[in-house]
Structures are given as C-alpha cells and as structure tokens.
Subunit: 357 residues, 2 copies
DNA sequence: CTGAAAGCGCTTACAG
DNA sequence: CTGAAAGCGCTTACAG
C-alpha cells in the first residue's frame, strides 16, 4: 500500500488557505449560512468549484454525532402467526437502526391490530403526542391514515409510506411495489400455466376487504391483464372476511362443488397458505396456486408443491429503506425519490432457497 | 430533537477511565496487539464486555483515512455489443468505488476478450506485475484462472470471484448464483408451460463451450430437473461456436426442419436474443423461449413477447458486493462469507420495469 | 461579517 | 509494557 499522493481530495482547510479566510467562513459558505460578505462568498465558491470539492461524509457525520438525537416513529401491524409477514419490514427497520444509531437516531415502534381500525387510531394519537421527527407507516386503513398525514403536514413532520400506497396522500415518499402491476404479473403467470378452457378463481381473505386498498388493487390488476390481452378464461371470486382455516375451507368447498375445472387460484395476500392447506387436504394439488409473500407457512407449502408461485416485494428492504430515507432527509436534507418502486419478485420451489427478502 | 441521554455508547475514553489506563492501551487490547500485560488486558476486556462496547465505525474510518492507498485490480471481459452483460458488474464496481474512494481505495480495471483465452493470460500477467492489494475477477477460463489464483496464494493477495465459480479454487469468497440451480429453475418454468408431448431444446452459443464451466453447469442443472422429477419430454441440443446471427439462424433452421413440435428453447447464456430474433423472423413466437440476463437486447425481445423468461442474477450487485467485500477484508479484517449466493430472479414482460440489477 | 479553538471517537507514531 | 499528544476533516459555540 503506497502513500496516497496528489489529488487527495482538498478539504475545508485547503480552501480556507487558498481563500485566505478561516475554515469557519468556508463552512458558512458550504452550508449557505447567513453572515458572509458577497465578496468573500464569491471567492470561496470559486475555489470550491475549481477544486471540485467533495465534503468528507465521514467527518461530517462524526462531527454531527454530538448533536441531538433524532426520534423516528414506526407504525406497523403487530406480528402474530396470521400476520407474520410484518416481521420482515420490522427486521429491515432493526437493521437500519443498528447501522445508524451511532448517528443519534432513536426509533420508537408502535403496533396496531390489522383487524381493528380503532387500534390504528389509538396508536396514531400516541404518536402525535410524542412529536417524533419523522414517521414510517403503512396506510392499511385509508381514512384513519388521513388523520396522521394531516397532522404531519400541519407540523411539518415528514412521513414515509411502505408496502402499500394511497395516491393523493402526499408523503415524503412511497417505498413498495406498484401493487396493481403485481396483480397483473400474477395473471401473466396464470395464463402461462392454465388452459384456455379452465376457470380462474380470485380469493380475497381479510377482515376488512372493502377498506383494504392493496387487496382491491391487486384484483384490479389481475383482471386487467385478462381483459387487456383479450383472454377469455372465466374469472370467479371468493371473499372471506373470516380469516381462519375452517371458515375459508368451508367456503372453498361450497364453491368447488359448484364450479368444475378451476385451473388456478390467485390469493391476493399472504393468506395463501390457508388455501394451500385446503387444496392439499382435498387432494387438489394440481390446481395452480399463487399468492403473496415469503412467510414461513407459505414457503412450506411452496416446498411441497401446494403453492406454485409466490409474489414478493422485498418487505425487509422496504423497512430498511424507509428508515434510511427518513435519516437521509432529516440529517442531510437529501432530495428523496418520490416513489421508490420495489421489484416484483417471482418465487418458486426452485429459487426460494436463494431469495433475500 | 432532544439531547442524547444515558447509554450513549461508551467509547475508548470511558473504557480507559474505568480501567485506569490510557486509551492507547485500550486500543491495543481492542485490536489484539502485542505488548499488554495479561493483567491489564483482562481488566480491559472485562470492561469492554460489560459495557458491550461497539467501536464507532465512523471515527475508525476517519482516523484510518490518513493511511496509505489500497489498490484493487478488477479483471472482467470487455464490453462490446455482444457482451453488454458485463456492463452491469462494472456499474456495480463503479458505484462501490464512488462510495469508498474517500477511504483511500483505488481500483484499476483490466479487460480481456471473452473469445480469446490468451488475452486473459496477458492481463493476468499485467496484474501480477502491478502487485495489487486485492483482486476481483470472473473465472471464465478455468486453466488460465489457475495461474492467477496460484500467484495470489503465493503472495497472500486476496481474490474474489464473481458471476461464476470454480469449485476448488480457494478464493476469499464467491459472489454469484448457484449456477447449477439456475438451470434447474429454468427447467421448472419450462415444465409449467410445455405439454408433456413436446420437445425441449437446449442451445449453447459461445466460442469456447467446452472450456466454459458456467454454460455446462447450467445445462446439467436443466437436465437434472427433468430426470429428478421423471419428466419425459425429449431434450434436444444445439451447440454453436459461432456467435453471430447468421450462423446460429442457419443451424436452428436445419434443426427445426428435422424436429417438429419443439415447445421450448433454453439458451444457457445472454445470447438468447439471437435465438429470439430467429424465432420472430421465422414466425415461431409461440415457442417458449428462456435465457439469461437483463441486457438491452434481451429486454427488447422480452417486451415484444419473443422471450418469455429471463433469468437474472443481479450482476451489478455482484460487482458492487465484490469490491465491498475486498474493502471490508483489507480495511477491517472482517470475516467474509465464503459463498455469497445471489438470488435467481425470474424476469418477464410484466415485471421487468421494476427490476434492479 | 470573521476567526481561534474545542470536539466528534478512533488510530498512530513517538517517547519512555 | 504504557501513556501523552497529534491528527483524520468537519461542525459548532463563542468571542470579537
């Protein structure tokens, strides 16, 4: 390793020397602060230009570390067996926290019950009382989310939405997939694998279907693919507001008795494992089954062939990136991409081993 | 933003104070350096344990920045129209360089002709002469690569392999996909989309097929899926050591005249666009076509439906991660995962827009 | 409007 | 075997 040589990145000291001022003044110009005469300001800016000065991010962070703590609030569904999905974003958030807590970032976590809008409300009130410096949340309930976003706007608190978007809620940014398109993709896969004569079933399992933007958008996308491409398969629908196995199985049973020759089933969220369990018990494993998310249950059914395709949108990375975005914005005032669209990944029995959430 | 409070991460100073020694001695213990009495060493280690001391990476890097430059060498195929694929790893390398050049890392790039083993040889000699501190390369030619790895071992220079692996070449680490499995995955997709009576064609297009480990492994994996699952489709083979369109088209023409009812074609590398062009011209777009890599040409054919699936292994991330790994190893002596296996992504017409290499 | 000095947490000669 | 001091490049009171 030889000693670093020439162009070794001039810093504030060098600029100060060339401009015959102190580094404090250089700093003022770099940060566009008040109280520098036009003349010296111009002189310093010229030198910065000429030297193509790039601040040393390391040193900047280190110096800043001594300042105050930044407090972020995170609002996500709580994690139960049924909603294990949300572990992934949380993992990402934890990872981000580990990386940046050295810079004085603290993260407060709030959880709500996905089946209970009032629990969302309650947590929102708590957060508002805490006055965090930035918020990360997922707008599962559009109306209730509005309370939060309105308050944030009033107080100038930046907020990031992950996993699903609500157009018109003007956030700092959205990090997640284009969910309409993920339904579209599911339809493409179905079309590859199913005969033209077979029927296709869309299953929606959630306590709050009508108020669940993501679930509805996915079905829209799914249906759009068929109509855009003039594909004639008959599309059936099954909704279940009860999310337990018994209830879903019963409904499926009734439907399948009535409708013969269903070639594929598309479940619009991570509850696909419930359907997989039913198909396995009923000996209907030749039906193509697609659903969402890389949860433990789902992967088990993927392995044994009950589930054919899982669509996955890197939930862990969403959490990670969400926190990092707030960090970038609050600490460095970086400009932020309004929509960070995640890839829409296709997971099968033969590539799940290598998947990274 | 309130002032940081309590547990605000004790540092070397605090440790030194508690152990009643100087911070220099603490530093010696942290880095397991010689010349500290057992007694003080134990005392300091106990305190480090108790405080759960985490070094401040920022400060460490900043302090280290003043040391010498680290020089890395990168050896990749040159980028032509035909081998545009290699732009992606190079992009990743450039990105990594931008992030770490502040820490005194310099990267020297060397290119060889993928169709000419002697050009690889020549570049290896150049690199050896330069005595870099670390090397990143792709072992397309096993024998010629051995010259490089042997020399590195002798001199203790760490090297990282990306994109394809050669088992037994004991590198610092391999970053890339499990290529056998990527062939396996391709076969699964084919099996979903093709009738049992149809034939399947494997196409290998490369100047040096027999000496190209990756291409052979992918075919192995592809075939293994069929035999493991006792699937009976007849598998045909077409090899072309000429990589230009005219030559490949001619061979395909001959084969397709002889063999009727080919349901799918699997091309074992990024040259799949050549086959796509042929199928489009021949009006055979109903044949399922699969191949590798997110190149501009391939994506064009994906869009128009000539290619159905592209398998992609994040080449840009491979380059990025390769450089970062050498950096971690050389600067922080971090322990490195021996095999960093990339996901094997499935790209279609309906999700390519969101893919990130 | 401007500057001298201290500090961020760590590393490294150098001196004993 | 151990310590005092300078330095990494930047930021921030504080004093003028």
């Amino acid at each position: 390793m030889k000693k670093s040589t020439d162009k070794s990145a001039a810093g504030v000291k060098e600029i100060a020397r060339l401009a015959k001022v102190s580094i404090a003044t250089v700093d003022r110009v770099i940060h566009n602060r008040e109280g520098v005469s036009e003349k010296t300001k111009n002189k310093i800016q010229a030198i910065i230009q000429k030297l193509n000065y790039q601040p040393n991010v390391l040193a900047r962070r280190l110096a800043l570390a001594s300042r105050g703590t930044i407090r972020l609030a995170v609002l996500l569904p709580n994690i139960s067996g049924e909603t294990e999905f949300w572990q992934a974003p949380l993992d990402g958030i934890n990872q981000a926290e580990a990386e940046i807590k050295q810079y004085g970032i603290e993260i407060e976590r709030y959880f709500f019950d996905q089946n209970d809008e009032s629990s969302f409300d309650k947590q929102v009130k708590k957060i508002i009382r805490q006055k965090p410096d930035g918020i990360l949340f997922t707008p599962i309930f559009p109306e209730e989310s509005l309370v939060l976003t309105e308050d944030c706007k009033k107080k100038g608190i930046p907020y990031v939405m992950i996993n699903s978007d609500i157009p018109g809620y003007d956030s700092l940014c959205y990090i997640g997939a284009e969910i309409f398109h993920s339904g579209y993709l599911a339809a493409q896969l179905v079309n590859y694998c199913v005969a033209k004569t077979q029927k296709v079933l869309v299953v929606k399992i959630a306590r709050e279907i009508d108020n669940n933007y993501a679930i509805l958008r996915k079905e829209d996308g799914f249906r759009a693919y068929f109509s855009d491409n003039k594909i004639q398969n008959k599309i059936l629908t099954l909704d279940s507001k009860q999310t337990d196995y018994a209830a879903v199985a019963k409904k499926l049973d009734q439907l399948i008795k009535k409708e013969n020759d269903i070639g594929a089933i598309f479940v619009t969220n991570s509850r696909v494992s419930v359907v997989a369990k039913y198909l396995r018990k009923a000996g209907l494993e030749n039906v193509l089954l697609l659903g969402y998310d890389f949860t433990k249950d789902n992967v088990e059914f993927l392995k044994d062939g009950s589930i054919d395709f899982l669509i996955c949108e890197k939930p862990q990375e969403q959490g990670y990136r969400g926190v990092m975005t707030l960090f970038q914005h609050l600490v460095y005032s970086n400009t932020i991409e309004k929509n960070y669209l995640m890839p829409i990944d296709i997971i099968t029995k033969e590539n799940y081993q290598f998947y990274r959430n």
